[in-house]
Amino acid sequence: MEKKLKVVRDYKPVVTSIVKKDIKQLGAYVDNLNSILKDPGVVALRICECCIDITISRPGEDYMKFSVK
């Protein structure tokens, strides 16, 4: 199984889970997230005091942000 996995990784280095990204890929991922954050008209990241979650909001529609302590 281990050999199979090595072969598979060499052959098809597809990454979809962020836990498997290397430092460069993770940097690109975070840059993309930051650009999403700056574009609240299309999608909004809901940020509260204890987590960052993602909310899809319709363009032009405000949503209320409540904090939970």
């Binding site: 199984m1 281990e2 199979k4 996995l5 090595k6 072969v7 598979v8 990784r9 098809k12 597809v14 990454v15 979809t16 889970s17 962020i18 836990v19 498997k20 430092i23 993770l26 940097g27 991922y29 975070v30 993309n32 997230l33 930051n34 999403i36 954050l37 999608v43 990241l45 809901r46 940020i47 509260c48 005091e49 204890c50 987590c51 960052i52 979650d53 993602i54 909310t55 899809i56 209320m64 409540f66 904090s67 939970v68 302590k69």
Partner: protein
């Protein structure tokens, strides 16, 4: 040696779904997939202490797991080449996302103009620590605003939310009202968003003259009158009645209200009655009032840790039985909130390797000129992390205890399945219970996850079968529904 992630969690499906019999959830990668018995057994056996058994399983599964399945389990974060590889990724994610959170969080600036309070709530940690005081002076208020740029790392006024907290900030006590008004006015002059956390008993008298200075008000109410007044007594008066008057006035001023209900087994059965009272006042559905449940914390050295997982179970049961319970937002139960967020977006919250904002960017400033990194610690001078008045003098070592606290600190925590999400638990509770910063006070996040996932099993199965969301479906010989969206539903 090939290893399965130490953060894999299996939850039985009870009824199989196209051959899958377990929901596999990984708290580090945030992946959720439905898998069959063979995958379940294989992943478990890889980490077995019994190496012979492990090897045998490995051999068997070389035959049984298709290449595409191994590939899929690998890139979803359920498999690693070895334990070190997983921990390297853990460390990288931790550093990356801690920085990300610190840069993107709203910046809380909490001001405590007094520790005095007119209520005598039995579960209040400030009461347990005998906190009381006079009122903040003009000099300290001025010093507070001038010192902020020296203390706050990310001084972006658009991100700053100034929160007036206490004690109780809205009381007829010395010249407190004047001072609170002054703090709010100065906040607005600086361009900060403003919030008041109040017990609500003085809200009606305060709001008419000051509503333009406040963006959000948080009030706590614990049930219908007889329950609320017993839990949050105001000597010589009816605190419930005063709070309702305050809510009414604030809502007429079009203020957003965050209504907090501290919930435990004592008041839970009465919450449909409270919901009914709020509904009868016509306050629900107006877009101004959000009512959320927050599990009551068991403060005090002799109190045992809470059973929040059980209370969530009871809350959900009552919600099934009583439609009125649906007015309550359950965001106070983190695990439940994250699974609900997953259902909307296909992603779990981005890795929060911390318990709360004490580990990121929280600051509290009190009337004595002390600075704190934690809500609950404020008022206990030994736990302050510096001073802003008369001069700024920060203690980096003490601040580091809060900011650098993480689940990476102890081997015990690192091995815990919830380590990527809990941040080592509540530091204040750890100190309160054991007087030891490293003793770890575990929160019930894992129990919440279990409860939330179990409650939503049908939803997960339905969407895995449809292949239209972020839940995969994989059996030993093939991947039935593949997840390949990097940003969950945002990719669409």
């Amino acid at each position: 040696m090939l290893t399965s992630s130490r953060y894999n969690i299996f939850i039985p499906l009870f009824d199989s779904c196209q051959g899958a019999s377990f929901l596999l959830f990984n708290t580090l990668s945030g992946s959720i997939d439905l898998v069959d018995d063979v995958i379940h057994d294989t992943l478990l056996s890889l980490n077995s202490e019994d190496k012979v058994l492990c090897k045998e399983f490995g051999n068997n599964n070389d035959k049984n797991l298709a290449d595409e399945v191994i590939d899929y389990l690998d890139r979803r974060g359920y498999l690693f080449m070895n334990e070190d590889e997983e921990m390297e990724h853990f460390d990288l994610l931790y550093k990356t996302f801690l920085t990300f959170h610190r840069q993107n969080y709203p910046q809380s600036v909490v001001v405590i103009p007094t520790y005095h309070c007119n209520l005598q709530c039995k579960y209040c940690w400030q009461r347990l620590h005998n906190m009381d005081s006079g009122v903040i002076t003009d000099e300290v208020i001025n010093r507070l605003f001038s010192s902020l740029p020296e203390i706050i790392e990310n001084m972006d006024e658009k991100k700053i939310e100034l929160v007036v907290f206490g004690g109780e900030p809205l009381m007829d006590y010395q010249d407190l009202t004047k001072k609170v008004t002054s703090i709010l006015k100065k906040s607005k002059e600086h361009g900060f968003a403003t919030k008041i956390i109040t017990n609500g008993t003085g809200l009606a008298d305060f709001i008419d003259d000051n509503y333009q200075l406040i963006d959000l008000i948080q009030v706590t109410i614990d049930g219908p009158p007889e329950i609320h007044n017993r839990r949050r007594p105001l000597p010589g008066a009816d605190s419930f009645d005063l709070i309702l008057k305050g809510l009414d006035r604030a809502l007429k001023c079009k203020k957003f209200i965050n209504l907090r209900v501290n919930v435990d087994f004592e008041n839970l059965p009465s919450l449909p009655i409270l919901a009914n009272i709020l509904e009868e006042h016509g306050w629900l559905g107006n877009g101004l009032l959000d009512v959320h449940l927050a599990p009551t914390k068991n403060h005090g050295k002799n109190e045992t840790p809470g059973n929040q997982g059980n209370i969530l179970q009871s809350v959900l049961k009552l919600r099934d039985e009583n439609e009125l319970m649906k007015i309550y937002n359950l965001d106070g139960f983190s695990g439940y909130k994250y699974i609900e967020g997953f259902k909307e977006t296909g992603l779990l919250p981005l890795h929060r390797f911390f318990h709360c904002e004490a580990q990121t960017n929280f600051w509290a400033f009190d009337l004595r000129g002390d600075v704190y990194a934690c809500w609950d610690a404020a008022g206990i001078p030994d736990l302050s992390v510096g001073k802003f008045s008369p001069e700024v003098m920060m203690d980096k070592e003490k601040l580091s205890i809060w900011r650098d606290h993480s689940s990476l600190e102890s081997e015990k925590c690192k091995k815990c399945k919830i380590a990527p999400n809990c941040g080592g638990g509540c530091l204040f509770m750890a100190i309160e219970k054991s007087n030891d910063f490293l003793s770890n006070y575990c929160d019930p996040l894992l129990a919440d996850y279990h409860q939330a996932i179990t409650t939503n099993l049908d939803w997960f199965k339905e969407h895995a079968e449809l292949g239209d969301h972020a839940v995969g479906l994989v059996v030993s010989d093939r991947v039935i529904s593949e997840i390949n969206l990097e940003y969950g539903l945002l990719d669409r």
